[in-house]
Point group: C2
Chain length 347, copies 2
């Protein structure tokens, strides 16, 4: 039996081994991914990002705990991938696997993996994508991809997800720069965590205002003629109610405007409501063409990153050390510019 | 006269034009860079990074103003490159050139350029590097490279600088995650801005503690036998004094431990002290082998990014749309994995 087959049979040790192979980009890791890839596509991938200090890890822990223990129906199997792209020097993820396990210890339906930087951003995105694919094939139905921070790296990793949560907290939103337009644009659901702290109103209001700028009230509703759907007016209310248009009997909306959900992760407050929003977004993705489009964009972007890495690797194998060394020497003496050095080395 | 020659003669309009060409990566831009590159190497490149909301822009404005107007000796020519890597969707830099100009308006010795994301991180690093090289060749002696945020993108851009300032502010440092180990490791000077706000002691203490972890007191001093230098004990004091070892008569230190400098940028408080620290660091770089090493690492990393971009461009020209389309189709149907698609397209 191959390692991949053992993963498919639910062997956790085999899973951990494959993940390590995938993270280290070994030949065996690629082989396992080739075998497992056709079994992917079943999981709901949920990205969680936002500035440091907003309590993302606690929130993800709580969400996982509720998916396992507190909801009606069959508990779902939950994977958590915690990525720290801004720690390129330490080489170790800030959030240790053990620390994360406290609430979820001993539950075989949960698998947690922390990942630190792989040197290059492309490398990290590829490794994260591989880890997510293995968990997906292994039958985890909900997979959280949690990133520390809110920069370009986080945006790229958010592209791996179907549903992206952007987490803020009171006291960070006073400054307009703290809530970045770029980050807002990747948000499917906005979460104001630590909602028992002073300043929660200010933060929620700031988010609502920026949301209004990013998603102006549409005047024409797509799908207005399709039977079975009637629409409420899109309204960014003063309460943090879901603001998407939705059918009167709880159908998935035909246009998605990110709702703002308040939570207190440490107490579990708002977590069930948040899960309802997540499920509503997944339903929306499935009932519109969005899910297919996101899958397509996701796989194409992964292919492009892999192509890039392979091209560089192949070129490195062909150019001699001497020739490369000569180019660097001339560059350092400022005899040639970086562009001229590239001409010399490639063309 | 070529555009590059006009830049060397101090023509500001020509400078602005070349920068636009370089930013857009045109053939003319590359040509100008090839001409100008041999004239680079004169500027002191100062990176300024840190979390949003710490007042980096005000601080850079003040530093520029002091370099121009408040210091003893000949005023230095100052370039400012403001980079926003985390705004991939809007396509416009958050900090407009005009807003930045308020304090520095009408001063021909200052040139300010804002840059937004170029789609890829490598592209942004290359474009920023090109812009800095043009300013360097144009005779700007101090060039600030300011980035919004504190993620991997900022770390990569910090690699372009000789001296890197990491800016924090009170009230953001309570959470251990707010001060990232990775960011601390790129800091040559730590700045606690907004030092009139409550919590400044807590922030300074947190930085000092993390600094102590990152730079443990060395037991062996390099260069202890070299004449002309005697060393104080390295001590991370309770005050925010410079903690590097330095000679008794103000020589540059032979080992650099990042000092912590408090500032109130809006009032100009601490700005002269900060400039003294910056100058002390530059002196240190020049008197040790560090400057050469940083230059070498900087140019090599730029060459690698350029090589990468060129390889992808060349491959794109050779692969047919049909073949690429077929691979993507099979990938989307999950008949082949991303790794198998790469094999199909490259090998």
């Amino acid at each position: 039996m191959t390692l991949a087959e053992e993963v498919l049979q639910g062997n956790r040790l085999a899973l951990a081994r494959v993940l390590t192979q995938v993270e280290n980009e070994t030949e065996r890791g690629h082989q396992a991914l080739n075998e497992l890839f056709r079994r992917t596509g079943g999981a709901h991938l949920i990205g969680v990002t936002g500035p440091p200090g907003t309590g993302k890890s606690s929130l993800v822990n709580q969400l996982a705990y509720y998916y396992r223990n507190k909801l009606v129906g069959k508990p779902k199997r939950v994977g958590i991938v915690a990525v720290d792209p801004s720690s390129p020097f330490t080489g170790g993820a800030i959030l240790g696997d053990r620390v994360r396990m406290r609430d979820l210890a001993g539950d075989n339906g949960v698998f947690i993996r922390s990942m630190a930087s792989r040197g290059s951003l492309g490398g990290l995105a590829v490794a994260t994508s591989g880890v997510v694919q293995v968990m997906d094939a292994a039958g985890f139905e909900i997979i959280f991809i949690e990133t520390v921070g809110a920069g370009q790296a986080e945006v790229e990793i958010a592209h791996l997800a179907h549903t992206t949560l952007v987490v803020e907290a009171p006291g960070m939103g006073d400054d307009i720069q703290a809530i970045k337009a770029g980050i807002l644009e990747i948000a499917d659901i906005l979460v104001v965590n630590k909602a028992d702290r002073p300043g929660v109103e200010t933060t929620a209001r700031a988010l609502r205002n920026m949301l209004q700028l990013a998603h102006p009230v549409p005047h024409v509703f797509s799908g207005i003629d399709s039977p079975g759907y009637s629409h409420h007016m899109v309204e960014l209310s003063d309460h943090d109610e879901p603001v998407s248009t939705s059918g009167p009997t709880g159908e998935a909306p035909t246009i998605w405007i990110p709702p703002i959900q308040r939570t207190i992760a440490t107490k579990g407050t708002g977590v069930v409501d948040l899960i309802e929003e997540i499920e509503r977004h997944y339903k929306y993705l499935k009932e519109t063409s969005e899910l297919g489009q996101r899958e397509q964009a996701r796989l194409k972007s992964e292919l492009d990153i892999l192509l890039r890495e392979r091209l560089v690797k192949r070129w490195r194998e062909r150019v001699t050390e001497t020739r490369y060394g000569q180019a660097v020497e001339k560059l350092l003496r400022r005899e040639i510019s970086p562009w001229q050095a590239v001409d010399y080395l490639i063309d």
